[in-house]
């Protein structure tokens, strides 16, 4: 759930999603769910000549599993907070495993 919460803090930011088919899409992050499916608004494809398929598309839903990378604006990421949250999530997982 950590990255689900993390993504929710990035809503309304402009991100570049790189898909597993090497296509990159820039757009405004509008919503995200537990599978890290993503909805983007005002999209543009980075290499329009190679991938003209989406040139008339304004907003898209991307299935989480086809995402390779998401390039984020560094200024909006609180790295210290994210590191602490990662440690907390790890501790929660360890507690869950221990209680089994």
């Amino acid at each position: 759930m950590l990255f689900f919460s993390f993504y929710k803090t990035l809503i309304d930011e402009v991100v570049i999603v790189e898909l597993k088919n090497d296509m990159s899409v820039r757009g405004t992050l509008k919503s995200v769910d537990q599978f890290l499916n993503i909805k983007l608004d005002d999209i543009s494809v980075l290499d329009e000549i190679k991938y003209p398929h989406l040139s008339s598309v304004k907003n898209i839903f991307i299935r989480g599993s086809v995402v390779r990378y998401v390039h984020l604006p560094a200024a909006v990421v609180d790295t210290t907070l994210l590191e602490d949250a990662s440690r907390k999530e790890a501790a929660a997982q360890a507690a869950k495993a221990g209680g089994r």
Partner: protein
């Protein structure tokens, strides 16, 4: 088993399960090998049990063979902040300690 988990929570420098090694690499520069002949070098800021990662100051190296000459080609790309989906991750290597 329950005792081990409690001991870990008290001493967070113990490596008792594989992902603890990743936890100890938080805010350090790591090397990540991915599917599709890709490698990343960057500072680790976040991870989860799927090996989803967030890295900063990332250098991505993509290896490929030129289809005609069969020569090895490397492409290097930079990114200031990158989320990496865990299903492509092959290995995560912590920084060299002396």
């Amino acid at each position: 088993m329950a005792d081990v988990a409690t001991a870990d929570q008290l001493d967070d420098t113990v490596v008792s399960e594989p992902l603890d090694l990743v936890r100890l690499s938080l805010s350090e520069r790591v090397f990540v090998k991915l599917k599709g002949d890709r490698e990343l070098r960057g500072r680790l800021h976040g991870y989860d049990l799927h090996c989803n990662l967030v890295l900063s100051d990332v250098e991505e190296t993509i290896y490929s063979l030129d289809p005609e000459t069969e020569e090895l080609k490397t492409v290097v790309k930079q990114s200031e902040m990158l989320f990496v989906r865990g299903d492509a991750v092959v290995l995560i290597s912590p920084p060299q300690r002396t």
